[in-house]
Symmetry: C2
Subunit: 193 residues, 2 copies
Amino acid sequence: MPSNVDARIRKSQAAIISAGLELLGRNSEATLSDIAQQASVGRSTLYRLYETKEQLMRAIGVHCMQCFDAATQHLEKDADSALQAFHLMFKAVLPLSAEMEFLMKLGDAAEQDPELDAIWQKQKRDIALMVDAAKAEGSLSRQVPTAWAVNLVEALFYASWVTGAEEQMDHDALADLAFATFSHGIAQQATRA
Amino acid sequence: MPSNVDARIRKSQAAIISAGLELLGRNSEATLSDIAQQASVGRSTLYRLYETKEQLMRAIGVHCMQCFDAATQHLEKDADSALQAFHLMFKAVLPLSAEMEFLMKLGDAAEQDPELDAIWQKQKRDIALMVDAAKAEGSLSRQVPTAWAVNLVEALFYASWVTGAEEQMDHDALADLAFATFSHGIAQQATRA
DNA sequence: AATTTATGATACATATATGTCCCATAAAAG
DNA sequence: CTTTTATGGGACATATATGTATCATAAATT
């Protein structure tokens, strides 16, 4: 899609978002000068495209959400069951490590910004729906609070990301570990003597 | 213990550490002025006691580690099994929510500071020893990488802390949830048809 | 090819957090 | 009670990130 906006702008924006994702992900106090340099873009251009630092953070946050949405959109269609959807989710999300790192490190900054917080809460609501579907299906225990399950998913993202960074494990193996931990951890105990 | 240091210094230090724990935990870009004010202490006093902001962060980090150590020291003695030690650990650690929040939000700042990083790594090594003990005992699966189990513990701390902040759940219930998720999640599957 | 438009470099203004110094005062220590 | 010592407040210096404005140049759109 050509999109009726100047090609130079699109190029600059892409470079800035990518650089910001990397630098702000690694160190949330990275400077706009650092980001401009990393993006091979003049500092003026950055300020022309994003009025303030918060707007840049917001733009990157939105970008991350779009990535997540794109990666997780078709889960419910492709999955055999509501539970399996979580497996596909881990497989789809773990490769987005840069975006994950950004959202992780974002943390407190997100709470202050209403727009970023809205994004974050929407993600959680989507996961909550998946949890409820799995409960309705009978594959997740109704004893487990939905809020716990949702936060557990986030936590498993975190654990996967950290483990992937420390050890040299590929995303697929991590996704399997995460899903096994998730499902066996809060699955309804089928047959117990 | 009177400790041969002036009573005023001890009082100031305690107030500063407490204020820093709270403010830096909530927003890692809190100002030294903010902290001094919250501690009801002159800014000069803060600078007299801690030469730089990093030193203050370090001091708070050390304080947190001491709290964790104090809370988890007797686990292995009191626990019936290596696995149960994790249950006691969750119960002991979750009430330290301020310290947890600080260490969570610390994140990237810790990696930069060698002393804080050393503290962090030591914590992980201690947990790794507990994991290995539980593996040796046969209550945790040897299939699960120790690194994964360690990061899972951290992740469950995170999930517990977030859930506790969102919902109004008491620490004991959260500890039970976390332990159940942990043990059923990576436990050796006893009898499976 | 002509025109429009984004770019990058530079200079400039500003706010703010950090860190230092000093001194009268108050509170411990002896 | 006397001496020692930490405190708090204020003034001061400094570095640095943010944000603004200008303009010649280069790259797109037409």
